[in-house]
C-alpha cells in the first residue's frame, strides 16, 4: 500500500483522500517511510518534519470527518525548498550562515500551502542561497539524482526535484532565478514551472536576485503542477512586485491540453537555443518533441531571438549585483552564525570572520562580482549595460510572440552530469542555464516537461509564453505529456 501511494500523482492522492479511501495520515506516513528508506542515498531533504506533517495530515482527516469542504490538494504531501521561510521550522537556504535560525514567520506561500491543507514533509536541499546548477554548492552536501546516484539532480532546486523523481513527495516547491526549477526538472524527468514574475508572492522567499526570483511548482505531472500553481499564485499585498491580476487559469489549461489537441497553436522554435554546445541526444529528443507537437495539430515556426546570446553575460552581472546587496544582512549581528566574537575583536572583524566562515566559495564569488559591478565608475558599464540587454531580450520575446503563441527549446543543453564533474569550472556550470535564462530576464513564464531520454537520462522540453500567459505553457505541456509515455527512473537505482 505504502509503495503504491508514493507512486500516485497528487491528483490521485487528493481524490483518494477526499473519497475517504485513504487517510491523509496514511499518505503522509507512506511518504515519510519512503524518505526514511531512500533519503540517506538521495539526500534530498535537509530537515524532515515528521511530527508537523502527521499533525497537518490529522487536521485534514478531522476536517474531512467533520464534513468540511477540502481544497483540491488537501492532504497531499509536499517538499519545500529550504529557501522558503517556514515558521518554527529551521530555514537555512543551504548555507552555514543561517544554520540554527528558526524563522518567526511564514512566507506567504508557506501560509497558502498550509491553509490549503497540503502536508509539508520537510525542507529540501539546494545550492547555497540558490546559487548553482547542481546542488553541489549546498553547505550540507550534494543531492543525488534518482536516475543515477553518481549524477547531480540539477540545481539550485535539486532537492525538490530529486524528492519528486525519487517518490519521496508528489509535489514540491522550487524557486527559479535563472532556471533553478526548470533545469532540475529537466534532468530528473519531472515537471517544473516558473510562473510569470510577480505571479507568485516573494514574501518569505530568501532573496537571491530580487528582480528574477520566482517560486513555482514541481511535480510529476503537468496537472499536479497546475494545481499547486493555483494554490500559491495570486496577488499578495506584502510583495510590492506581486501582480494584482487574476491568476491565469492554469488548471483548466492543463485539463484542456490533456485532451491531446493543439490544433491552431502556433509553436515557435527559438533558433538561438540549440545547435553547437548542445548534446546531440538532447537535440534529438527535442526534435522528436517538436514533431509530436506538430502531430498534435500545432503550427511550428522558427523564430529568432538574437539577443538571447547575451543572456548569460547579462544575467551574471544582474544576479551578482542584486545578491551582493541581498546577502549583506548576514552579518552576525541579529541572527544566524557568529564567529570570532570574543568580546575583544571589533565589530567589522566579527562580521568578516562570520562571512568568511559562513559563506561557500560560489556565494563569495558572486558577492565579489556584484560588489565590483555596482562600484562607482563601473555601474554603467556593467549593471547598467546588463539592464539594457535585459530590455533587448524582452523585445526579442515580444517580437517572437507576434509570430507564435508559445516558444519552445530544450530546457538544458545537456543531461545530468556527474557529481564533481564541473565544480572546478564555474563557466561549465553556468552554461547549464543557457536555455532558461531568457525567460528569467524577461520575467515571462516557462515550464519544463520531460521529453524522453538521451543515453538513458531525462531531457526536458521548455515551453515559454508571454507574461501572464502561464496557462499557455500548461496547455501545451499537458498536450505534449498526453502524447508521450511517461519516463520513470530505473527501479534498481533506489532498490
Amino acid at each position: 500500500m505504502s509503495t503504491d501511494l508514493t507512486r500516485s500523482t497528487a491528483t490521485e492522492l487528493a481524490g483518494l483522500i477526499a473519497g475517504g479511501e485513504v487517510s491523509a495520515v496514511e499518505v503522509a506516513q507512506a511518504h515519510l517511510d519512503r524518505i526514511s528508506e531512500v533519503d540517506d542515498r538521495l539526500h534530498a531533504f535537509l530537515v524532515v518534519d515528521a511530527d508537523g506533517a502527521l499533525r497537518a495530515a490529522k487536521a485534514v482527516d478531522a476536517r474531512r470527518a467533520a464534513g468540511e469542504a477540502l481544497g483540491p490538494l488537501a492532504g497531499v504531501p509536499l517538499a519545500m525548498k529550504d529557501i522558503v521561510v517556514t515558521e518554527g521550522l529551521p530555514t537555512t537556504a543551504g548555507s552555514k550562515i543561517l544554520e540554527g535560525w528558526v524563522p518567526p514567520y511564514d512566507a506567504t506561500i508557506s501560509r497558502r500551502i498550509k491553509d490549503a491543507g497540503i502536508v509539508m514533509l520537510g525542507k529540501t536541499n539546494l545550492d547555497e542561497f540558490a546559487m548553482g546548477s547542481s546542488t553541489e554548492n549546498s553547505a550540507f552536501g550534494p543531492t543525488h539524482n534518482p536516475w543515477d546516484l553518481a549524477r547531480v539532480p540539477g540545481g539550485s532546486g535539486g532537492g525538490s526535484a530529486a524528492a519528486i523523481a525519487g517518490y519521496e513527495a508528489p509535489l514540491a516547491i522550487g524557486t527559479d532565478t535563472g532556471g533553478s526549477i526548470r533545469q532540475p526538472a529537466a534532468v530528473t524527468g519531472t515537471v517544473g514551472a516558473k510562473p510569470t514574475y510577480g505571479g507568485v508572492s516573494r514574501y518569505g522567499l530568501i532573496a537571491l536576485a530580487s528582480s528574477l526570483d520566482q517560486a513555482g511548482p514541481c511535480a510529476r505531472t503537468v496537472l499536479d503542477a497546475a494545481l499547486l500553481h493555483e494554490v500559491i499564485a495570486g496577488h499578495d499585498p506584502c510583495d510590492s512586485t506581486s501582480i494584482a491580476a487574476p491568476v491565469p487559469p492554469v488548471v483548466a489549461a492543463a485539463r484542456d491540453g490533456a485532451r491531446g489537441d493543439l490544433t491552431g497553436v502556433r509553436v515557435g522554435v527559438v533558433r538561438e537555443l540549440g545547435g553547437a554546445g548542445y548534446q546531440s541526444g538532447v537535440l534529438a529528443a527535442f526534435q522528436d518533441a517538436v514533431e509530436t507537437l506538430r502531430k498534435l495539430g500545432a503550427d511550428v515556426v522558427e523564430v529568432s531571438c538574437p539577443h538571447f546570446d547575451y543572456a548569460l553575460a547579462a544575467y551574471y552581472l544582474i544576479l551578482p549585483s542584486e545578491c551582493s546587496s541581498n546577502l549583506a544582512r548576514y552579518d552576525a549581528v541579529r541572527y544566524g552564525l557568529r564567529v570570532g566574537d570574543d568580546g575583544v575583536r571589533p565589530l567589522e572583524e566579527v562580521m568578516s570572520l562570520t562571512r568568511e566562515a559562513g559563506f561557500g566559495p560560489e556565494v563569495k564569488r558572486r558577492v565579489m562580482i556584484g560588489t565590483y559591478a555596482l562600484s562607482a565608475g563601473y555601474y554603467d558599464a556593467y549593471y547598467g549595460q546588463a539592464q539594457k540587454v535585459r530590455t533587448l531580450i524582452s523585445r526579442d520575446f515580444a517580437a517572437a510572440f507576434e509570430q507564435a503563441d508559445v516558444l519552445v527549446s530544450p530546457a538544458t543543453p545537456f543531461v545530468a552530469f556527474g557529481i564533481g564533474e564541473r565544480v572546478a569550472d564555474p563557466m561549465a556550470m553556468y552554461v547549464n542555464d543557457l536555455c532558461t535564462l531568457p525567460a528569467s530576464l524577461a520575467g515571462t513564464p516557462a515550464i519544463s516537461v520531460p521529453c524522453g531520454l538521451s543515453d538513458g537520462l531525462p531531457v526536458g522540453l521548455q515551453i515559454m509564453a508571454p507574461a501572464l500567459g502561464d496557462d499557455r505553457c500548461y496547455r501545451v505541456a499537458a498536450g505534449y505529456e498526453s502524447a508521450v509515455e511517461r519516463i520513470v527512473p530505473p527501479a534498481e537505482v533506489l532498490a
Partner: protein, 493 residues
Amino acid sequence: MTYEDVLTRYAPVIGLETHVELGTVSKMFCGCSTAFGAEPNTQVCPVCLGLPGSLPVANEKAIESTIRIGLALNCTIAEWCRFARKNYFYPDMPKNYQISQYDEPLCVNGYLDVEVNGESYRVGIERVHLEEDTGKNTHVGRSGRIHGADYSLVDYNRAGIPLVEIVTKPVTGTGALAPEVARTYVTELRDILRTLDVSDVRMEQGSLRCDVNTSLHPLGTTEWGTRTETKNVNSLRSVERAVRSEMLRQAEILDGGGKITQETRHFIETTGDTRSGRSKEEATDYRYFPEPDLVPLAPDPAWVVQLRATLPELPAVRRARTRETLGISAEDMRQMANAGVVDLVGATVEAGAPVGEARNWWLGYLAQKANERETDAADLRITPAQVARIVSLVGDGTLSVALGRQVVDAVLDTGADVDAVVAERGLQVVSDTDVLAKAADEAIAANPDVAEKVRGGKVNAVGPLIGAVRKATGGQADAATVRAILLEKLGSQ
C-alpha cells in the same frame, strides 16, 4: 581671530541637508508603529528587522507627505521615480542597505525664501526625497562612542521610520549673515513642516535633524573652497553656532596657509565647536542601484494637483496676514521675526490679548526665558492661550506684572494651567486693605526711626517700610497701594 576678521577676507557658501521623520502612524515599509519612546525593540517585525525573506511595501501616506513638502517648497514633483539601495555595513541598519532615493528623487528644483534683518534670501532646494530611518545604537562604556565601547546595544524601533531628506542648493551671497540665514532657513522649514502637519519636528528628539555644509573662499574669487559637513546639529541655535564656528575654524586654517579637508565634522553642543568625524576621502562607495523589491513610484498627476490645491496657508503668507490684521510696524515685525515669535504673537492676540501686550510679553520676558533656556520661543512650554490668560489677569489687576512673570515661570517649569498656578500658589495681588493696613502698622512699629523721618517730611525715606509690607505679604502687594497706605498713616500725604 574675530568673526569680523573672517569676513574681511572670506566669503562663505553654505548648504543644508535636513532629515525629517514623518509623523505617519506606521513605518515606511511595514505596519509597525512609529510612536516615540517605546521599550527598545518592541515596535519591530520581520520587515523592519530585515529578516531573511521579508519585503518592503511603500507607505502611501509617507509618499503623500513628501509630495506635499515638495509642493510647499516650490518643487517639481517627479512623474516617475524609483527607490534605490544605499549599501553600507552598519549594525543599526538591519539589511546593511538603506532604502533611499538616489538619482531619481520624488521632488526636485524648488526654493524657499527666508527673511533676515528685512532682507530676503532665496534658498534653492536641490531635492526632497524619501528614505527609511536606521535603528539607534547605544555604545556602552567609557567613551560613549563606538570606539572604546565595552558593548553596544541596538534599538530597531526607529528602523524604518519614514525619513524625508531636504537638500538645499549651495547658498551664496549671504556674507556675515550666513549663520542667521542658515538658522532662519531651518526655522522657516520647521514652521512649514509643522503647518503641513507632516512631522512633530522636534529637534531634541531627533525628528528634525540637520547637517550643515560650510566652505569659505577668498573675497573676490569665484571658485568655492573645500566644504565640510557638520552633523549632530540638534537645535536651531546650534545651526547658527555651527556655521559661525566652522567659518572661524576654516578661516584660521586658510590664513595659516593650510588646506581644508573635505570631511564630516561633529558639532559639540557644550563648546560650540566642531570636531573631525570620518574623512570623506575614505568614504564608502554606496553602490547605489534601483531597489528591485519596490515598483517605481509614479504619482498620478491628478493626485498631485489635488494635493497642491489642498495645501494649508503657509507660514510666510500667514505672517503677512498677521502683520496686516494686527497693524504691526515694519520694525516690530522684523524684531518679532528675528525672535521667531510672529505666529506666537498672532495666536496670543487671537486668544484675546491686546497686540501691544502680546508683543511685549513675547519679545520681552518670554524671549529672555527662551534665551536663558537655550531654546526657541516656540519650544517654550507655554501656549499663546496661556500667555493671553496671563495678560488678561494682569490687565484686570488680579496679577501685577511681577506676579505675571512668576506665573510664567511656574507654567514653564510644570506645564500647569495658569489659573491653577495662581490659585495653588496664592499669587493674586493682595488688595485687602485691612490686611495691608495691619502690615503697615506692624512695619511702622518695627521701624520707628524710618517712620519718624517720613513724618518729618522725608517722603522718599518710605522705601524700607514698603519693602517690609511687601515682604510680610509674600511679595503680592502692589507697591503703589502700599506706599499710599503708609504715607496716609504717617500723615505725609
